[in-house]
Symmetry: C2
Subunit: 353 residues, 2 copies
DNA sequence: TGATCATATACTCACGCCGAGCATATGAGG
DNA sequence: CCTCATATGCTCGGCGTGAGTATATGATCA
């Protein structure tokens, strides 16, 4: 049995995803699939969470920022990850440290430039974390706050106004309109999806659902990428739509959303936060970095107790003065924790026989 | 700036992964990358966790079982996931329900048939969960206990003997030998990796680290796939190596390992376990299914309390007799929970301003 | 120089989750 | 009808964690 010699068209099984993407007629052939490697590189600079973007010159053909990316070449690249590192090094001058694969996007139309709907690119998104010190080595590109692309995710000053002012009314309007081509077996009502994603009507805001929120806005035609991809805008708001965040080229904003959600989730069960920290830091600086990633404020004393009792840090012996008050003890990451604890806090804990 | 018109060979940045794969000379050109869609389809039949495999006829060219898979065709397939569903339907007759992307594997040599080391295939692995009832609709292929491929993961009867008898001594031997080509910046000593992955010397067994354990065995040359891919076997044991689990073709065992780890992790924070259950079930049947996935036994009363108090199930009103004792109440999954709770149990909880 | 303030650090308490054991209900099978 | 196996219900104790209060120490400025 050799399935590779057996490419033919076949019937569509029922689709479970509630996706309504328009389908342009494909033009390229089966072999013409290109693999794009995309890097969402995250750092925290001056307590601001930032992503590394390549900014398009004004008036250029494309529209908006891009993430560093390039095609995967099986000749030049030993692995997918090394290919990514090469592209990032070439395009930005940055040598990556921590790198983690996020997701592979392959929907039609998502990664399409205007006028060329048939380019079939499968995007493999990666998350990279960079220490603030290294972040300043940048040669090309720019660090840009990720809240410029997702203003509704910025809860540092309380609930963002854009939610009640712009997003929620338009989403409610969209929820009233009939779904066009969705054929999920058991569709989740739009009202419920909105409530879950945006935590309204008694729901709670889950800071990890960054991608879900962006995809909902995309489906509702409320972000520029949706209109660019040919999705019709909400009829009631056509022409009067404000830009919900700064858009990006291709599906890069989706990849960045995936990255933000992943970081926010991961720092809770893996010590990846230290990938963003310099070698020595105060506990308050650490907390500020965590808050930059997660959003809302944390309880200071409990944060301190948590971090110390978990054995995540150890004091260096030095202190940092000029903090505006009592000098703060400096700490460093205890790398040995990963050798000691398996993974802090699992839910259903098993009992040993 | 157009990175796509800029494919050329570039220097290698430092590699952070501790990988020592041999690198055959590439033969295909840059455009010849094929995308393989692979499905790890999981079910629980008679309290046994099983995966759907295509069994190779005896004496055929390849060696070992395969997961259902096929190449992605941008013409025939609207999305990656619909392509996967098509391939599975064709090869097994099974219509998939819950499907989730796992990981994209792209290392050289991993997905290579003997004698053709230059085939460049990027494998996108998927996890699918199938209810026991649907599982019997199978037309081609076979359900096979996943512990046949990973006997060291089977802790239902206590710690598997194969660990102390076969695996640990060989791993300790491997740890003593010098690393050949690894060039990580901050290498984790082999002893520590073994201790973390297999929970020996005071470590704890983490049932989610299925992939880490398999990759360690691969690196140590202790699984058949490693030898097939050209990795030299442990010198001290050459010729006397027992097979550690049943091997699979290509990198399918690695994908299955990823799938097992993902299911084990995911049932702890998402109600995916019900994708494996029939509509009506007793709480003990539910517990048995969870235990089939996770391994060790759970505390019965606490499991019951957890499931009920979380609002995950509701009684149907019926009972199931002939259970050998008092008839058990039948329950069904309360789908509304996903509309109510965001995600049970996050670690660092944020306080509202 | 000393008063004042801001920050760092320490201690305490209470609630709730969860591991663990005991007790009771109910029907099957001999 | 007795016995057993399983289902179901209840309770206790420890620990994690949210949250408040108290103290230490140095910067800043009148």
């Amino acid at each position: 049995m050799n399935p590779e010699a057996n490419i033919k068209r076949r019937f569509r099984t029922q689709e479970l995803d509630a996706d309504e993407i328009q389908e342009p007629a494909p033009r390229s052939d089966a072999a013409g699939v290109e693999i794009g490697l995309n890097a969402a590189i995250v750092a925290v600079i001056d307590d601001e969470p930032v992503a590394l973007v390549i900014r398009e010159a004004e008036g250029a053909t494309g529209q908006g920022d891009m993430l560093p990316f390039g095609p995967f070449s099986p000749i030049a690249h030993r692995t997918l990850e090394s290919g990514l590192r090469s592209w990032v090094a070439e395009q930005t001058g940055l040598g990556l440290g921590y790198v983690e694969q996020l997701y592979t996007f392959g929907d039609r139309g998502r990664h399409a430039e205007p006028g060329d709907q048939s380019l079939h690119v499968v995007s493999i998104g990666y998350l990279a974390l960079t220490e603030t010190g290294h972040a300043r080595d940048l040669q090309h590109g720019a660090w840009r706050s990720w809240y410029q692309y997702f203003p509704w995710e910025d809860w540092r000053k309380g609930r963002p106004e854009i939610l009640a002012a712009e997003i929620e009314p338009r989403l409610r309007d969209w929820a009233q309109r009939p779904a066009l081509r969705s054929a999920p077996v058991r569709p989740v009502p739009r009202e419920d999806r909105i409530r879950i994603c945006f935590g309204i009507d008694g729901g709670t805001w889950d800071e990890e659902k960054v991608l879900d929120r962006f995809e909902l806005l995309y489906e509702a035609g409320l972000v520029d990428e949706a209109r660019r991809d040919g999705r019709e805008a909400s009829s009631a708001w056509t022409g009067a739509l404000p830009r919900l965040g700064v858009s990006m080229q291709f599906d890069h904003r989706r990849i960045l959303a995936t990255a933000i959600g992943r970081v926010r989730a991961k720092i809770k069960y893996r010590p990846v936060i230290f990938e963003l920290m310099p070698d020595d830091f105060t506990l308050f600086e650490l907390q500020k970095t965590v808050e930059a990633i997660l959003g809302p404020h944390l309880h200071k004393q409990n944060f301190r107790r948590l971090v110390e009792s978990a054995g995540l840090v150890e004091p260096t012996g030095d202190v940092k003065t000029q903090t505006g008050g009592r000098p703060a003890k400096l700490f460093r990451f205890r790398r040995e924790v990963v050798l000691e604890r398996p993974a802090p806090g699992v839910r259903v804990k098993a009992i040993r026989s």
